[in-house]
Subunit: 351 residues, 2 copies
DNA sequence: GCCTTGTGTGGTACCGATTGCTGAAATCGA
DNA sequence: TCGATTTCAGCAATCGGTACCACACAAGGC
């Protein structure tokens, strides 16, 4: 590769001048320099620049599982914004492991100008790496309980879960199965609490065994659904707290030859590509996914531009209930103490 | 951040010694140095190292669309291998645009030690950036027609399409709709040719209007399917050449209230997460996705370790026919000149 | 015509690591 | 205990840029 000195020699000026030219300063020999750069196909070395300037022009994006369509969408949104600002994206996959995450963060800290982090779990305390976070950090989808010192872009997990609960309640369900995510994650806990709370508010009690704690993965969803179906009094409706567990649960329902929604209603958190053409089309809580990634990246870049800007922000995106065909009033059962009449179903997102 | 000089001062030795310690050389004051490093939380600056060594320990991965589950899986596989070797991954999304790809490659070339590239299209010629590819390049899923100077990890597109054609033929279909990908891409052309060829070999002629060229995206699949269904003599079976177009086509079938497989059989290239629980479960041509990414990364790292190793390799992975429920013998139609008897269906992957 | 101001340039130190070379200390043999 | 040989440490140059500083030269004010 040609260096700046090569260019300087060829153009008959000093490296200072080349540097100024490159950085938009006024310079006499513009043409000669442009020609020399062209001829040598010169591109300034990012390493050298980075060493001198202490800035890398790259952002680390750390997600638990890039194969999860949600995170894939997030990364896509983030990458698009980054490139529009000429930043590059380092992608790290932590496989939902806190240990791996810690390693990754340590290795990342001095390679990037900022980090978008979707933590695998909520650690007891802020990782020391993050604490002396010379690079800026934005939390995505999941946040740290212990601190509000960081920006974050979240989704209204509790609200979304409430929408789900309300929808199911309005259809007349009372025995509802909940497939939760890990309670030590923001979305896991938020959705859990929102759902349980809304049920309680409606005076419906969730029995402990109708709440199954999964792991946000397919297999977990599968197992949880199986357990719910094995109950003496299986639920008439099931809500799964994320996309992967929805898939797993649907697999289980499918395997057990349970018909949806006539045998049991089903809905999940996060839309699926195929949700509309499933049989039946899936009712879900949806949210803007690419936007969430894009927003996080914009927030981070703003923070980098203006380190002492506003106080840390906590952006919470709204969810949206998409009613399709997988939810319906429960079958009237002899066992039921009273026959629930489906209440009128609301259509708004946030009544 | 602490620098190597800080450590040297604290440990009471020179930077040379620290450097040697870091790089595994024999050193007297091991303990003192280890302590100093620990105390200062010293980590060598990647920028400085990179400048001096001319090596970045990072790999660029360039894909057309990270939100496509196939590429998400590929990236996952690649990232896992990379991290096991302590390499970082730069992710770039080209949005299926050749221009963007060119930009990305130019910007990438001197930031990374190697590139895994899934080209958006097959350019007329090898990009100059790649030609003087100081960083090594491995082509993934798609290759450049004009040259065999690069390593590549492909899938047996033609073979997979042949399996699909054979499967459909064996079921007795003769009027088969093909939803192809762009013919200027490796998988687009390969699958097209494989399918058409196998049909020809069986003496079945594909009429031009039963071949629709899509764009590997959902919307394209949707439109193509619609056109096929609008034919005076619509096909009795449809094969879509990738996952996204399958989804689009299924949407179209769904919208038109066509029943699968009783009205028309359907199958696609690439498995889907939900394929098994669709109604009906989808028959597909499957292939190892994460492995493809992992393999590409391994090949690339090997090439970096041993620049003058073996001649460029062209690895072709096998596909596998997964017969589920979306394909069945065609309904016997009055119009048909002869009544096709379903031939016996084979089960092997590669007869 | 002299002095001030402004513009553009080049020399050079520096960012933080690595490494060839030289020299000193440690180890070994007798 | 002394010299020969092997280890190990340090100096300083270097990678490729950037930017402080000093300075040459032109233009402008009086």
């Amino acid at each position: 590769m040609a260096t700046i000195s090569d260019v300087a020699r060829l153009a008959g000026v000093s490296t200072t001048t080349i540097s100024r030219y490159l950085n938009g300063g006024r310079v006499r020999a513009e043409l000669a320099i442009a020609d020399a750069i062209e001829e040598l196909r010169f591109r300034p070395s990012p390493a050298a620049r980075s060493l001198k300037l202490g800035v890398t022009h790259s952002i680390g994006v750390v997600v638990p599982d890039i194969a999860n369509p949600f995170f894939a969408a997030v990364v896509k949104g983030a990458e698009t914004v980054a490139r529009s600002r000429e930043y590059s994206v380092f992608l790290y996959n932590t496989e939902e492991s806190a240990d791996r995450e810690e390693e990754v963060l340590a290795a990342l800290a001095d390679r990037v100008d900022g980090i978008i982090l979707a933590p695998a779990t909520e650690p007891a305390d802020v990782s020391p790496v993050l604490r002396r976070a010379q690079p800026r950090v934005v939390f995505l989808d999941r946040e740290l309980a212990k601190t509000d010192a960081f920006d974050s872009v979240l989704v209204d997990n509790a609200g979304g879960a409430r929408q789900a609960a309300r929808h199911l309640l309005e259809l007349g369900h009372e025995r509802i199965g909940l497939i939760s995510g890990p309670l030590d994650t923001t979305p896991g806990r938020g959705r859990h609490e929102g759902f349980v709370d809304e049920m309680a508010r409606a005076g419906v009690e969730l029995k402990p065994d109708t709440i199954q704690i999964g792991d946000f993965r397919q297999e977990g969803g599968y197992q949880c659904a199986l357990r719910l179906l094995a109950l003496k009094q299986p639920p008439t409706a099931i809500f799964a707290a994320n996309n992967l567990m929805s898939i797993g649960a649907l697999r289980a329902l499918h395997a057990m030859r349970i018909r949806v929604p006539s045998d049991v209603s089903f809905m999940g958190f996060d839309d699926l590509d195929l949700a509309e053409i499933l049989d039946p089309p899936l009712t879900v809580i949806d949210r803007p996914m690419e936007e969430q990634g894009a927003l996080a990246m914009r927030l981070l870049l703003a923070r980098i531009d203006e380190p002492n800007g506003a106080a840390p922000q906590r952006i919470v995106l709204e969810t949206r209930l998409r009613i399709r065909m997988s939810t319906a009033p429960p079958r009237v059962l002899g066992r039921s103490s009273r026959t629930p009449k489906p209440r009128k179903q609301r259509k708004e997102n946030h009544p």
